[in-house]
């Protein structure tokens, strides 16, 4: 639980920390999109270097990022291996029925691996340098146009910020309940998968019961304090778009042009 790096905020004052969360969110989504259009070693190299530069400029140690990749390493390796053995082309080093080990296969396997790692790194940058509450505001801002399609954007963003707000509480409670059940002789992480899943009941059920109760209380409080859905409201935290953010957009445009040019003429 404590090893999970994605979703954690590391306070700091780096350039990346100071950027507008709306820009950061767009940047990350766009960057991940671009990763799928990379063709050739040069572009791969450029994007990997760029990712590293961005990561280092946050002032968070590289070790922290690498730890963020660790929980997903099996998934990544699975995709990579699948890619390697199913791609044919170039020089073939080994072949056995369905399984091939080829020059192209190895190369595209490496690309797949890199793409995954970069995706995780760049989204970790976003969550490490942006307060969850700012991120919610950014999501709200980006979803705003959907209001014209009668999507309850206000409610969605309230739900999201409440959910984020209670994650630390939920973690605390998990620890407490876990300790209480351990004290009653429960051993977590023993036995086969089915047994382990069954063993979660004494942990998950109390958490559910308590969360439901708190949700009810929370709804009552919102009502008592006069919260009305659909009402027009202003914002306490205002996001400010700065020159840096515009420059960042410029970087995105340049990247797009480079990727497209190389894809078309390369």
């Amino acid at each position: 639980m404590n090893r999970l790096i994605i979703g954690r905020y590391f306070p700091g004052s780096s350039l990346i920390h100071q950027l507008d969360p709306r820009f950061k969110l767009i940047f990350v989504l766009y960057f991940i999109g671009l990763l799928f259009f990379l063709d050739g070693m040069i572009l791969q190299g450029v994007f990997f270097t760029l990712t590293l530069v961005i990561m280092l400029s946050t002032g968070v140690s590289l070790k922290t990022y690498v730890r963020g990749v660790r929980p997903l390493i099996w998934l990544i390796l699975f995709a990579t291996v699948l890619r390697i053995i199913t791609t044919r082309g170039g020089e073939i080093y080994y072949e056995a029925g369905f399984f091939t080990l080829s020059e192209f296969g190895l190369l595209s396997g490496a690309y797949t691996f890199l793409r995954f790692v970069e995706m995780i790194f760049i989204s970790t940058v976003l969550t490490l340098t942006t307060k969850p509450i700012d991120l919610t505001d950014a999501i709200y801002f980006l979803l705003k146009p959907l209001r014209y399609l009668y999507v309850p954007v206000e409610e969605l963003s309230l739900m999201l910020s409440i959910a984020l707000r209670f994650i630390p509480n939920l973690l605390d409670e998990t620890e407490k309940v876990m300790n209480a059940q351990k004290a009653r002789g429960m051993v977590f992480g023993e036995g086969n998968l089915l047994e382990q899943m069954k063993a979660l009941t004494p942990l998950v059920l109390p958490l559910f019961a308590h969360s439901l109760k708190r949700a009810e209380d929370m709804a009552d409080v919102l009502e008592v304090k006069g919260y009305k859905s659909g009402a027009k409201r202003t914002h306490y935290r205002a996001l400010t778009w700065q020159v840096k953010d515009t420059l960042g957009v410029g970087l995105l445009v340049v990247l797009t042009v480079v990727v497209m040019t190389i894809n078309v003429f390369g």
Partner: protein, 285 residues
């Protein structure tokens, strides 16, 4: 069973973030069959001290021994299981641990974890229900349908169902109404006497200390500042003031009377009966 802390320090190390020690250089001894109250301001490390006793928190330095089992920075699963069977631990708001479909199932959860046979569990549950005052008709109900006070009883019964020799309680009566609070504490005190349970209880209520405890551990800033019997604690005004400890209602009343009268009684009273006796004895009333 004997509990000893031998120069114990401990912290909650979370991954890479090294925290300062929560407990530093503790040494103490709890004699078998005693009722010890643990008092001190919030954040003093009281709950952490309790967690050391059943290995939910392991010492980073020093050792904790419970009976013949000794914990150091590393503890085997075997030792942990052995100790947890013998130490019953009630956290703050223990009703948050209830999860089973029926009260019976919840009570059987602990003993089942310790591989006790079903027939034996059945007799134990009947026994703990009697001890804790849970009516047999409640056994088939869902624990979530009970009142707060009843849930607390069920939770404590679930802890007793493993037949511990040591009972560790973290504010067992917090958040209950005065009647339920008194019932729970009386029940625990009764258990302590009849079942000869060595009991440690964290509390903020000095009247509880006077009524139930034999001796007191005073904690502050992660250290044990004093370990003494109840009467010595409340005779030591300097100690009480240094750690901002309250005094029992009777003593507080006595101090107000003394201040108003400008004289002092010869004894310090801990209960209202004592206060009444001293007042009559020394001719104040």
């Amino acid at each position: 069973m004997h509990i000893t802390f031998n120069r114990v320090s401990a912290n909650y190390q979370l991954g890479p973030i090294k925290r300062a020690d929560i407990l530093t250089d503790l040494s103490a001894e709890v004699t078998p069959g005693s009722f010890t109250a643990v008092v001190g301001p919030t954040g003093a490390g009281k709950s952490s001290l309790l967690k050391l006793i059943n290995g939910l928190l392991l010492p980073s330095v020093g050792e904790v021994s419970v009976g013949e089992v000794v914990f150091t920075a590393k503890a085997s699963k075997q030792a942990l299981k052995q100790v947890r069977k013998r130490v019953g631990m009630a956290f703050q708001f223990p009703e948050h641990q209830l999860f089973a479909e029926t009260v019976y199932e919840d009570l059987a959860f602990g003993p089942r974890n310790f591989n006790i046979s079903d027939s034996e569990i059945d007799t134990t549950i009947k026994h703990v229900c009697q001890l804790t005052g849970i009516d047999q008709s409640l056994l088939e109900r869902s624990p979530f349908s009970l009142s707060g006070g009843q849930q607390r009883r069920v939770a404590i019964a679930g802890i007793l169902a493993t037949k511990p020799d040591i009972l560790v309680l973290d504010e067992p009566a917090a958040g209950l109404d005065p009647v339920a609070k008194k019932q729970i504490l009386e029940m625990l005190s009764h258990l302590h006497k009849t079942e000869k349970l060595t009991t440690l209880m964290v509390t903020h209520d000095m009247d509880d200390v006077v009524h139930y405890a034999d001796d007191v551990i005073v904690m502050a800033e992660g250290q044990i500042k004093a370990h003494l019997d109840v009467r010595s604690l409340f005779s030591d005004q300097a100690l009480l003031e240094r750690y901002q400890l309250d005094v029992p209602t009777a003593l507080s009343l006595q101090q107000q009377l003394e201040q108003a009268k400008g004289e002092q009684l010869n004894h310090r009273s801990l209960t209202l009966t004592e206060l009444a006796d001293y007042l009559i004895e020394e001719g104040w009333v």
